[in-house]
Symmetry: C2
């Protein structure tokens, strides 16, 4: 049962490195989205009347891009999760043997609906300017990058949970057997670490979002994305959602 027994390539160190690297990706994607104003027609069902499709332009772009990337094998990688998993076409490329790291129950966990709602309704209004420049297709492509980066980071909670479980199964097993979500959530919460992460991503947003010019003079605090919004994104959504994924994963870990 080589597949059911996760291998040992995963380490606390490699998981932590990946989480830190993904911070950069998320911040870059937000900075790029902030190049465009709100462009609200991209989100309005009434704007795009595309034959054979019912939904907003963003839904259209995300759904069709996912279908295309699925044929190229993107969702064979257990780190990737589609926003529109129903009727996703099969991969048309040769299979790649991703190392079996996660418990097989991982495949049943996908909280992209929650991520989509958070991004559209809560995050987006906080970091894009009002206005309309007509670039709806590019805006939606940019939203897709943000959504994919957030989804990958949040679902990486499966790997976080796996490595924590392997490190100390005796700590988790009683709560798992008791199906005690609150106890699991408590075991997974380290407030001082979360504060450090919030500070680090705020600093990254300052560094990556600054206006760089030659010469030493600082141009003042004119950031492309408000660093406090990035800190809030992590504190209010990314870390809580990651823990939700971790709890869901651990509840199935002994199946």
């Amino acid at each position: 049962m080589a597949c059911a027994e996760p291998n040992s390539e995963l380490t606390l160190h490699s998981v932590r490195e990946s989480l830190i690297r993904q911070e950069d990706t998320i911040i870059f994607s937000l900075i790029e989205r902030a190049k465009y104003p709100r462009n609200s027609p991209a989100y309005e069902q009434s704007y795009a009347s595309i034959p054979g499709f019912s939904g907003s332009l963003l839904q259209y772009i995300v759904k069709q891009s996912e279908a295309l990337q699925a044929t190229a094998g993107r969702y064979e990688n257990p780190e990737e999760h589609p926003f529109f998993p129903d009727n996703l076409p099969r991969s048309l490329v040769p299979p790649y043997n991703y190392p079996p790291v996660l418990h097989h129950a991982a495949t049943s966990i996908n909280i992209n609906k929650i991520i989509w709602d958070m991004y559209l309704n809560q995050l987006l209004p906080l970091f894009v300017a009002d206005g309309d420049d007509g670039n709806y297709a590019s805006t939606a492509a940019s939203d897709l990058e943000c959504l994919q980066a957030l989804s990958r980071r949040i679902h990486y909670g499966k790997y976080v949970a796996e490595v924590k479980f392997r490190d100390a199964p005796q700590d988790y097993e009683p709560a798992i057997r008791a199906k005690d979500r609150d106890a699991l959530m408590k075991l997974l919460t380290f407030e001082n670490v979360e504060e450090l992460v919030k500070k680090r991503v705020e600093k990254k947003a300052m560094i990556f979002g600054q206006e760089v010019s030659l010469g030493n003079g600082h141009k003042g605090a004119n950031y492309k994305v408000d660093p406090s919004v990035v800190s809030k994104l992590y504190g209010d959504w990314i870390m809580p959602f990651t823990k939700l994924v971790q709890v869901e994963y651990l509840l199935r870990r002994l199946d």
Copy 2:
């Protein structure tokens, strides 16, 4: 003839601001591509045998993504240029009135074939690590981001040329009428400015590609993309190609 007569919203300042902002986009896209190793199967015709498609996985992803984005209106924006312009489907969304800035001959200029070859054969080997992690679909999506950012920046030469021409038509008209490419190239070349740009993008690559940690200690020069490669990209390819676009545009400017 409102369409034939470019309007006056374009300024030297706005063009310069856009060029500087696009530097960040290009550097972010390279840093993101560098997350993945070379992943050479994505570029090999023999790897992807997708029914009804002949070419590499990258060609498949770029061509199909462009077709999708075309239906969403991306190429209605004169700043955007497809890599596979043949048989591109029509936009299915309501038209947006982009301000008529360029001479109508601009639409006939597309040097994406040169950009594609430069990116694949010269740039890519300079900034990605050897290796294969199986993420070919994500790698190709990341290449698409790089290619689109480079294409947008280089074809922005049309706007650069337009604003320079408007600023001093008397300087350009004799060379345009004489179809003198060398004279035009000379008029468009400012070596000291080009050196400044190379220095600025190198600095940006250092800032955006650094490992950020809390605390003041620097972690040494461990950049995600070698800053000298970004400087070379601008000096050897982006700026020369932009001037090529400018010359082609100016040669048609009096048609």
